[in-house]
Amino acid sequence: MLFHTWVFAVFFLIVFPVYLLVKNNNRWMNLWLMIASYVFYGWWNPSYLLLLFGTSAIDYLMVVFMEKSESKRTKKLWLIISLVSNFGFLAFFKYSHFITDNINWIFTHLHWGVQLPDPVAYPNWAISLFGGGQGWLFTAVVLPIGISFHTFQSMSYTIDAYYGNIQTERSFVRFLTFVSFFPQLVAGPIERASNLLPQLQGRPVITRDDVVNGMALFLVGFFKKVALADYLALYVDKVYGAPGDHQSGALLLATIAFAWQIYFDFSGYTDMARGLAQIMGFRLMLNFNNPYVATGLGDFWGRWHISLSTWFKDYVYFPLGGNRKGKSRTYFNMFVTMLISGIWHGAAWTFVIWGLLHAIGRIGTRELESAAWYRERVPRFVKQVLVFSFVCLAWIFFRAPTVTDAWTILTRMFTTGWGDPQFPVLMGVLIVVVWLYEELFANGPRTRSWLEGDVVRVGMAAAMVLWLAVVAQPSTQSFIYFQF
């Protein structure tokens, strides 16, 4: 179910009034939200619900067992079981094809004459041990939507519980609701138990500000997705669909357009998610903070997909030692964290390279960004252009279907003439207007207060409503991040 479709409108019109009726009874509220969230998730494919329920149930039980453990060793064992099960599901559903293909490629090049079977063979083999026929349950390994998001959210609970950072959740239903909370289930923000669980334990209070601010967030997110992201996708898909047919100008502009497309798409989803949650009296964490006005790569990662960046920081970078063990170890830790972040996004070499590029970029610019001359003498705009250019370079690998395509795009970008890019002027205008808005918003209190004036805000809202009604088309296009 997508937020910007009629089905979701009907869904929410049913869920919200009932929610208002039951929200003062915590047990009923959680039960209702859990049912609604499972319907929301099962709408794509009800069989995914088994996985969602399974991973949640394991994590819930492991924390209960941890609490009852008397020795640290047993406690650790429960944590390991939780991590292994979560990573196991992720590895099977998300990475098994990638791993199999690469191992088979190696086998072929070594002329070993053996090949690993399609990953679907493993569960079917297990089923056959219990008398089930081949292909009885699985015919193919299909990536469940948002698996990386809900497993990470669930895992954060077990890790935090292990370190004693949060209390054990007693209610199984409430825990299921925490993992499956529908506004942020499939594409985040990846909530921490310490933020969302306490909200689910109480009686949410919905103020007038919650409703109006939630509506505003939803409108902005809706506009970003339907009017901007889906529009830019038309050009990006055309150029990236046949990179060999396009020259430097088109490839460059399509890459810039993709940078904005993915930002509008993902932050649009997040805005809608946070808006919906706020209308229901819940606060979800900020996930994007004008990332393209960043003046350094570190700054960029503090503004882009914040819930994931902080997740990796807390559960990978810090446990590895963070910056406490000397310079070279810090760089090593940063490198590993960024590489894992790349792999988190997808099971393809393109994502690995994307992660590597950011790792190298981050390490290479860390000293630069902290140097006084860079901070004080290089104009802000120049820094922004440098960061944006680097991010765009990395996006090429993120967007291109294969490494070969990415390479084609890169080489053609620098070896062919500008050509006629056929880039719609309207697209360019929209991008510049949004960038200017964000720049003015982030630049200082004076310009920000001007943007926060009544006329500008109401005018913008009216313009968005008008644009959505007249120009933008009804969209049923999925969100890019649903695939992760």
Partner: protein
């Protein structure tokens, strides 16, 4: 442990309740006033030979305006698919033209829309045809839509058929119709919100049936609002196909399977349409066919005769005046169901000769 920032907005768009109320009033005004204002600004070409331009066949908002105009200028409207519209003929060679010419008046209006099979036609009249309520209607029944399970929309396999926005979106269920629930709900909204119909009209009439964003991709350096000239494309006087008979065209005789009338989805839709028109106070006259029986194999022709008899029996039973002519001469057909100009002329003559139209 890093502290996720306190929830704030990453933008400045926070509105007060009063400002939201203002936006709601603005949106409501746009939704209500724009379609009405547009009707005043955009001149609608009409006249005795007017028919909806072919490329605007999916513009139901425009069709409803044309229908409203037609009932003020003419006594009788003719409803149907491309047989009424005139697939192989010019506007001045259609059935409405010859009826008008023979009567020496401009009594008949051509409201035919290409591709409106009975299920779509029922939807067109139900959702966009309120303007013709209480008027005299000649309703053409084209048996072609019952010539095979595919035409009857009863194939189990999904396929794209014409006018999906007009068919029932959920009940009765159409086996081959597999659009996503969201799209179906969107179609229902469009039927009931004139603004959405208007928005589709703008895209159909001025942007070549594509959305404005897609149009900019084809015309990257042009002003995206330039095509809105408020001048509708005029009905073309050019032939869509060469006006030659089916045999010259190289069409061979066909063994159409025909469906059983009792289980036919299209026939049920046609019955529903007749009932709807009667309920709305329309005086309904049904014209069955005339189908090109010359194109059928002997076995198929027998099945067709049974089907035609079934249609007539139901019309008789419901006391609905109708005319189910014999097939026109073979050379007067362009294909299985579309007459050529001479065929329309002959049909008009026959129709008036029955006296049934005058009696109404």
């Amino acid at each position: 442990m890093s502290n996720p920032e306190e929830p704030t907005t990453s933008n400045a768009l926070q509105l007060t309740v009063r400002q939201w109320a203002g936006i709601a009033v603005f949106a409501a005004a746009v939704y209500l006033l724009v379609p009405a204002a547009w009707q005043r600004a955009e001149k609608l070409e009409s006249g005795p030979e007017y028919r909806l331009p072919y490329e605007l066949a999916n513009d139901y908002w425009l069709w409803s305006r044309v229908a409203a105009q037609a009932v003020t200028d003419h006594d009788t409207v003719i409803l149907g698919d491309s047989v009424v519209w005139g697939e192989y003929v010019r506007p001045a060679e259609t059935i409405s033209h010859y009826l008008n010419a023979l009567e020496g008046k401009t009594s008949y209006a051509n409201l035919g829309v290409n591709g409106t099979h009975p299920t779509a036609l029922a939807g067109l009249i139900e959702h966009h045809g309120k303007a013709i309520s209480g008027k005299r209607v000649i309703l053409q029944c084209n048996p072609l839509w019952m010539s095979s399970p595919k035409h009857d929309l009863r194939e189990q396999e999904e396929f794209q058929f014409l006018h999906p926005k007009l068919v029932p979106q959920f009940r009765p269920s159409i086996p081959c119709y597999r659009k996503e629930t969201s799209e179906r709900l969107g179609y229902i909204v469009e039927r009931n919100m004139p603004f959405n119909g208007w928005s589709t009209h703008v895209q159909t009439a001025y942007y070549g049936s594509t959305s404005i964003p897609k149009w900019t991709l084809e015309h990257p350096y042009e002003n995206p609002f330039k095509p809105i000239t408020l001048k509708l494309p005029p009905p073309s006087d050019e032939l869509r196909h060469e006006a030659v008979s089916w045999s010259v065209r190289g069409i061979t005789r066909q063994n159409m399977p025909w469906v059983d009338l009792a289980g036919s989805l299209q026939w049920k839709s046609f019955q529903r349409l007749v009932e709807l028109l009667e309920k709305r106070g329309n005086s309904v006259f049904v014209l069955v066919g005339p189908f090109n029986e010359h194109l059928l194999t002997d076995a198929s022709r027998v099945k067709y005769s049974e089907l035609k008899r079934g249609i007539e029996d139901w019309l008789k039973e419901r006391k609905i005046p109708y005319y189910a002519p014999e097939a026109l001469p073979s050379e007067q057909y362009g294909d299985a169901s579309h007459p050529l100009s001479a065929g329309y002329a002959l049909l008009a003559k026959q129709l008036l000769a029955t006296g049934l139209l005058a009696a109404k």
